[in-house]
């Protein structure tokens, strides 16, 4: 066929807003009057922000999400092209330093409604129960103020809402099954499976990924085009833009896109009063709110808090502990590439395709604490060329030659847990951005344990590739997934927020995104970020009284136990789908925090 049957493909009408080929934004968005005080304002409608917005709107709060980037129309704004997808990432200046500087932009954060979930690869493993007790178990890192049991029901909820495709039995951590069936395997995944089975390493095929393996309402089945990281125009890969935001808007949430929040404002009574932001036209505006939730991710959240320094909080808002910006983490994301004699064509199939978590937990014999996972990645040509530049030192004719072999290479990624260190941090640089706000400066150093882990892990991945039949194996060091910068904890002197993501210092200021994680595990953080957001929303809903009557100080603390779980706040079309599956063995929490029984299920 030389051209599509019946002529050109459908294109969006003028008044349509497409969220994938079938889904449309149905309802016009509610607009609060300028100067109106709303109940809750959310800074950043990303992974966490999108879920918060949807939950809170459904629960009847008056919510506004303020997002620095655009409100994407997937058909008009996104392209099926590697270089053309530049605008999906947070490309404003950040300064990076330290002995092992982090790369940002395409490597780390998103911008625009949906945030990082627009360009994530959508690997969605859960954290292991041990991830929440790293300090007690291994004497390194930190403990979480919450346990796996607290998050588990939200994992289950979000896995259905996204929905997550994966095997019926996932053996690691707390074993469980997935609501959607697994995906077929692309080239790199086949290499991983071949290598692992040859070495006797258990491997999980075709998931867990938040990519539809079956149509999900108006979101089609994946078409295996491999452009996940460039934004899934198909709408098969979950982003909060297409899974939660439409529902939020239907229930009366407002999103102000292209609006950059400059600072969070503090009132005289020690409570925050709202935020100041630059609107689409660059004018400074104020949005008053009874509660402010900052969901700007690991760099922008600390930056905003530091930029909001004011009387009483000279070091940065909610930073009496001095921990804001500290304990920044990234996962070791070394890409190991193997050349195979048979064509692999790794541009096809989602890059997130198969993984093994066999090396996730601490093994004393390995000589370092914590562990790593091995996952598939599927770099497209430009990314692959850059990787080859580092991995083989390729340039000139050598670059041309190795790139002509692009279709013979398979790439696997290490995903290793780098521990939280105080000297890895976000601060403010002297430079300012186009709004006149000081930009973030990060400092990142690997410590001994991290380096041992990376060396061991890379070795393991290379072994797997060789066992799969690779004739040449090379690797490129890299980091993935930012975490930390406003960590949660029970002790106000060493943490920024409590177990409900509420700041210790200011009772109506919340931080809810990847920056609150005290440790990061070797699992991709996205699912946990969204699950945590759903839990935070449940807390806010439970404290509705206190919020609406402006008495945030009377909101219950963590000692009051976990809030009731709302099973009825999922977006439309969540129930009645999915395969029969294994519910994990560990029981859902009977006893919440502080040993108190949990309230009834909402």
């Amino acid at each position: 066929m030389k051209s599509p049957l019946f002529g050109k493909f459908e294109e969006p009408e003028d008044d349509e807003h497409w969220l994938g080929p079938i889904q449309r934004l149905k309802t016009p968005m509610r607009r609060f009057a300028p100067g109106d005080e709303v109940d809750i304002v959310i800074v950043g409608v990303g992974s966490a922000g999108g879920v918060l917005l949807q939950r809170l709107a459904r629960a009847g709060f008056r919510v506004v999400g303020i997002e620095a980037g655009p409100f994407w129309d997937t058909e008009r704004d996104w392209v099926s092209d590697e270089a053309g997808s530049h605008q999906l990432y947070w490309n404003d200046l950040r300064i990076t330093g330290g002995a092992h500087p982090l790369a940002f932009g395409a490597n780390n954060s998103g911008r625009g409604v949906g945030g990082g979930s627009v360009h994530w690869a959508a690997f969605t493993p859960r954290f292991h129960p041990s991830d929440f007790r790293v300090y007690s178990e291994d004497g390194v890192g930190a403990d979480w103020p919450i346990s796996y049991q607290d998050l588990k029901p939200y994992y289950e909820l979000l896995e259905r809402e996204m929905p997550v495709a994966g095997p019926a039995y996932f053996p690691w951590g707390d074993p469980h099954g997935y609501p959607y069936g697994p995906h077929p395997l692309g080239g790199p995944a086949e290499a991983l499976v071949k290598g692992c089975t040859a070495l006797g390493i258990p491997v999980c095929q075709g998931g867990p990924v938040a990519i539809n393996s079956g149509s999900h309402g108006d979101r089609p089945h994946c078409i295996y085009r491999g452009f996940c990281i460039q934004g899934c125009k198909v709408g098969a890969k979950q982003s909060t833009l297409i899974s939660h935001v439409p529902d939020a808007i239907e229930y009366g949430a407002e999103i102000r896109a292209n609006s950059m929040v400059a600072r969070v404002n503090l009132g005289k009574d020690g409570l925050v009063t709202g935020v100041t932001y630059f609107d689409e036209d660059g004018h400074e505006q104020e949005q008053r709110a009874k509660v402010v939730i900052v969901s700007g991710y690991a760099i922008e959240t600390p930056r905003l808090l530091l930029n909001s320094a004011c009387n009483g909080f000279e070091q940065g808002l909610a930073n009496s502990s001095g921990v804001v910006g500290k304990y920044l983490m990234a996962q070791a994301g070394n890409v190991v590439m193997g050349r195979f004699d048979d064509p692999v064509r790794m541009y096809k199939y989602p890059p997130a395709n198969a993984l093994t978590e066999e090396f996730y937990e601490t093994d004393p014999r390995r000589g370092f604490a914590r562990g790593f996972a091995i996952q598939t990645v599927g770099p497209l040509p430009i990314a692959f060329a850059k990787q080859m530049m580092v991995a083989k030192g390729a340039w000139g004719w050598g670059m041309r030659a190795v790139m002509m072999d692009y279709n013979h290479w398979a790439a696997l990624g290490l995903l290793g847990e780098i521990l939280p260190w105080e000297d890895n941090r976000v601060e403010l640089a002297e430079e300012t951005d186009r709004y006149g706000l000081r930009v973030a400066k990060s400092t990142f150093n690997l410590h001994d344990n991290d380096q041992k882990m990376i060396a061991y892990g890379v070795n393991k991945v290379e072994e797997v590739l060789r066992a799969a039949g690779a004739t040449e194996v090379v690797q490129e060091p890299r980091y993935a997934h930012l975490i930390g910068g406003a960590r949660m904890g029970n002790d106000p002197s060493t943490s920024v927020v409590d177990g409900f993501c509420r700041s210790h210092d200011i009772p109506n200021l919340f931080v809810c995104d990847g920056s609150v994680f005290p440790t990061q595990g070797s699992a991709n953080p996205g699912l946990t970020i969204q699950a945590l957001a759903a839990r935070t929303a449940d807390y806010l809903i439970a404290e509705r009284e206190a919020i609406l009557t402006r008495q945030p100080r009377s909101m219950r603390g963590v000692e009051a136990g976990a809030p009731p779980i709302h099973y009825d706040l999922s977006p439309h079309g969540t129930s009645g789908r999915g395969v029969p599956r294994l519910k994990s063995r560990t029981p859902t929490p009977e006893i919440g925090l502080g040993g108190l029984p949990v309230g009834s299920k909402g």
Partner: protein, 252 residues
């Protein structure tokens, strides 16, 4: 200078014969992503075709710098095996990026802004050329040009200390190479060369390692870089590149 021209071309390693320039080098003769453009969605179509058909005027570099940059990029991504009509512009897109101030979202603390780094880098390259061969870079033979660049690749530039005090050589090297490959491998001609599928929406894929109906099987041929080429040997980047991650998308 006829000989010089054939000097630039890759050869058949067994016979030693010069391989003439082709419209489409690579192992996928007859494969064309552009021929599939009717299966692309409108937005992608526009972006890719603009890349192919619109030559940008140079705005950021001065004419002298642009000439030097052309020569440098011609060694970073040599295109002598392509015929004139099928060469891929590299300096154009780099200039366009720098002129419009588009960055990758970060800057190393020991690096000046990207535009400045590129300008400084060109000065340094010129200085190294003078140091090694007492000749301007533009007048050097391709082999000598490669040797000039190789010193930066190795992280041991023999000249331009003043410049290297202001920026790190390996980081500049990676900036330069990244920009070049980003321009080259964003072009449909390069996709045809390496057998990459190009845009894939609304039509996706159905076969894993096998070619799709509109793709072609690989047909390899023997070739090797010209004799003078030092870039055909793979050598690790200089000065502990392990600690320097360029970082790019395309991974988890």
């Amino acid at each position: 200078m006829d000989n010089a021209n054939t000097d630039l071309l890759p050869r058949n390693p067994t016979t030693g014969e010069v391989l003439p320039p082709r419209a489409q080098p690579g192992y996928y003769p007859g494969y064309s992503t552009l021929s599939q453009q009717r299966f692309w969605d409108a937005a992608t179509h526009e972006v890719v075709l603009r890349r192919v058909h619109q030559a940008q005027p140079i705005r950021f570099f001065t004419p002298d710098e642009a000439r030097l940059m052309e020569a440098v990029c011609a060694r970073i991504i040599p295109q002598d095996d392509r015929d004139e009509a099928h060469r891929i512009p590299i300096v154009g897109p780099i200039d366009e990026r720098l002129a419009s101030g588009r960055i990758d979202g970060y800057r190393y603390e020991d690096m000046p802004p990207d535009g400045e780094a590129h300008k400084l880098g060109l000065q340094a390259i010129e200085a190294i050329a003078q140091h090694l061969f007492h000749t301007p870079f533009l007048q050097l033979g391709a082999g000598q040009q490669e040797r000039v660049l190789k010193t930066i690749h190795d992280g041991e530039p023999p000249a331009g200390e003043g410049i290297w005090r202001r920026m790190s050589a390996p980081r500049y090297w990676m900036l330069l190479v990244q920009d070049c490959v980003a321009a080259y491998y964003a072009h449909p001609y390069a996709w045809d060369e390496i057998g990459f599928g190009g845009p894939a929406y609304p039509r996706g894929y159905m076969r894993g390692g096998q070619p799709e109906p509109w793709e072609v099987e690989e047909r390899r041929y023997e070739w090797e870089a010209p004799e003078w080429a030092v870039s055909s040997e793979y050598e690790p980047l200089g000065r502990g590149h392990e600690t320097i991650t360029p970082g790019q998308g395309g991974s988890h």
